[in-house]
Symmetry: C2
Subunit: 178 residues, 2 copies
């Protein structure tokens, strides 16, 4: 499905609910995928995202060296692929091939978009000062894409040890909170 | 309902799905509540939580000065109170009274637990080095409480401007991810 550019000012609405995401990196022509849940918005616009990528993960060195990545947001239809990516390491496996995911070129970074995800956020690392102590990278989202036909995609939310909460209904309340 | 102590090693499973939380602080005998969604786990055990508290919020100075708070997790039954806390400021309002929430003494910090929330995490600020630049506090969870009868409480997940996703069903997948 063709994705459309999505306003950077609205990116927080995709990540603030806390979905499991698939982080893609690319280094020396080799792309990888990491399943990740430890992320938070840090600024609305330009959007900043803090995320913890363990230095035990294969993606850590690629992220640190290239300072580029893509945050891809999967929905429940990709649950088994999300778990597959989390259960394996890019040191041993080409996860795109192993799990039947399609890499697409990004517009601003070397890391690929995952076609099957309904939203893709191209990011650059903007601060590494918390990496040594906490493995916390601060990312700036530089370009966002969404599939306009899947605005109500049901995201996955990790509860630990194989338990995933699937996004339920959305309710509207008289909130003035951005 | 009487809460029970909850193992610190399992705290990440409460926050990793990305719920809206109510942050309580207390300063000079005055307690306050702040609605918050910008948080992430940073370490499993002892549990570390990164959270962004804007310096425009009344809670900011209390958190910075006292270095203590409680992360309270509300479910959908408290949705209107959550929005009320988000729409108002502790500078002008006693939110416990205004929204009919019950403060209970915590065991290790001065900030109160919110009785109506199904989980409460007593926290101490352990790192303020990212506060000046990002308003990011690193919290260490020192004591956790849950209502054992409400393990499947349906949390709220903020999508922006009054839209809240309500936690849906939990599925089990063959994941080895902690």
């Amino acid at each position: 499905m063709a994705k459309r550019a999505f306003p950077l000012s609205k990116v927080y609405g995709l990540l603030e609910p806390g979905p499991v995401v698939l982080l893609t990196t690319a280094r020396s022509g080799k792309a990888n995928i990491m399943t990740m849940s430890w992320h938070t918005m840090m600024e609305f616009e330009p959007p900043l995202v803090g995320c913890v990528v363990s230095n035990r993960n294969f993606s850590f060195e690629a992220l640190k060296a290239t300072r580029q990545c893509v945050i891809n947001i999967p929905a429940v239809d990709l649950a088994h692929k999300v778990v597959g990516c989390g259960n394996s390491s890019g040191r041993r496996v080409d996860k795109f091939k192993s799990f039947g995911l399609t890499p697409l070129p990004a517009s601003s970074v070397e890391a690929p978009l995952i076609d099957e995800c309904h939203a893709n956020l191209e990011c650059r690392v903007v601060d590494t000062r918390m990496v040594n102590r906490y493995n916390l990278f601060v990312l700036g989202v530089v370009k966002a894409w969404v599939d306009p036909t899947r605005k109500d995609a049901r995201t996955l939310h990790h509860r630990g040890w194989g338990a995933f909460m699937v996004a339920g209904e959305t309710i509207k309340l008289p909130s003035t909170m951005r």
